[in-house]
C-alpha cells in the first residue's frame, strides 16, 4: 500500500530564512509522481511543485525546491527566502499510474508558520 508520511506536524521560520519540510513515502512502484500542495487558511489546494520519479534532477520553482532521494523514498521541500504569504499547511502527495489512474495519496500535512 502506498503511504505518505510527514513527520513534522508544525514548523516555523523567520521571514527571509530557509525552511525544509520533510516527507517520506512507501511504494513498490518504479514510476510515480510526487507533489507538494499548499493549503492556506482559505483551504484552497494549490500546487507548489511536482517531481517525476524517473527524473534524477530535483525540481525547482522559484523559491521552492525539492530534495528527491529515490532510494531513501524521501521528498523534502525547501522554501528559501520565506515570506509571510508562505504560511500555510503543506501537504506532500504521491500518485502512480496504472490501475489507480492518478489517485493522490496525501500525508497528514505540516503547518508552516512564518514569523516577521
Amino acid at each position: 500500500a502506498q503511504t505518505v508520511t510527514q513527520s513534522q506536524p508544525e514548523m516555523s521560520v523567520q521571514e527571509a530564512e530557509t525552511v525544509t519540510l520533510s516527507c517520506t513515502y512507501d511504494t513498490s512502484e518504479s514510476d510515480y509522481y510526487l507533489f507538494w500542495y499548499k493549503q492556506p487558511p482559505s483551504r484552497q489546494m494549490i500546487l507548489v511543485i511536482r517531481q517525476e520519479a524517473y527524473k534524477q534532477q530535483n525540481a525547482t520553482e522559484n523559491r521552492f525546491s525539492v530534495n528527491f532521494q529515490k532510494a531513501a523514498k524521501s521528498f523534502s521541500l525547501k522554501i528559501s527566502d520565506s515570506q509571510l504569504g508562505d504560511a500555510a499547511m503543506y501537504f506532500c502527495a504521491y500518485c502512480t499510474g496504472g490501475s489507480t489512474l492518478g489517485r493522490l495519496y496525501f500525508g497528514r500535512g505540516t503547518q508552516l508558520t512564518v514569523w516577521p
Binding site: 509522481y33 507533489f35 500542495y37 482559505s42 483551504r43 484552497q44 489546494m45 494549490i46 500546487l47 511536482r50 501537504f91 502527495a93 500518485c95 502512480t96 499510474g97 490501475s99 489507480t100 489512474l101 492518478g102 489517485r103 493522490l104 495519496y105 496525501f106 500525508g107 497528514r108 500535512g109
Partner: protein, 114 residues
Amino acid sequence: EPEVTQTPSHQVTQMGQEVILRCVPISNHLYFYWYRQILGQKVEFLVSFYNNEISEKSEIFDDQFSVERPDGSNFTLKIRSTKLEDSAMYFCASHPTKFTDTQYFGPGTRLTVL
C-alpha cells in the same frame, strides 16, 4: 488561466437530507476526482471518474455516495442521506488526457451536517 470551480462554497444541511455538490472542471480535462478533508485531518480520496464511469472508489465511497457528469461540463457528488460524520471540505480535482499529470483542485465546498 482556466480553473476548477465548485458550488456552493458552503452547504449546511440537516442529518438525513440529500446534498449535491457541484464542480465544473477545466474544459479540456478528462479525468475527474472527488476528495474530502475532515477538519484537521488529511485529504482523502473518494472517487475517480473517466469516460462517464467510475474508475476507482475508496472504502469511504459507499452506497450513500454517487457521482455523475450530467451535461458534459458539470461533475457532481451526491450524498443521499447525510450523516454527521460527512461534515468536511469536499474538493473536486481534474486533469487532462495524460493520467499522471498534475491534478488541479477547486476551492472546495464546506459541508456542515447538523
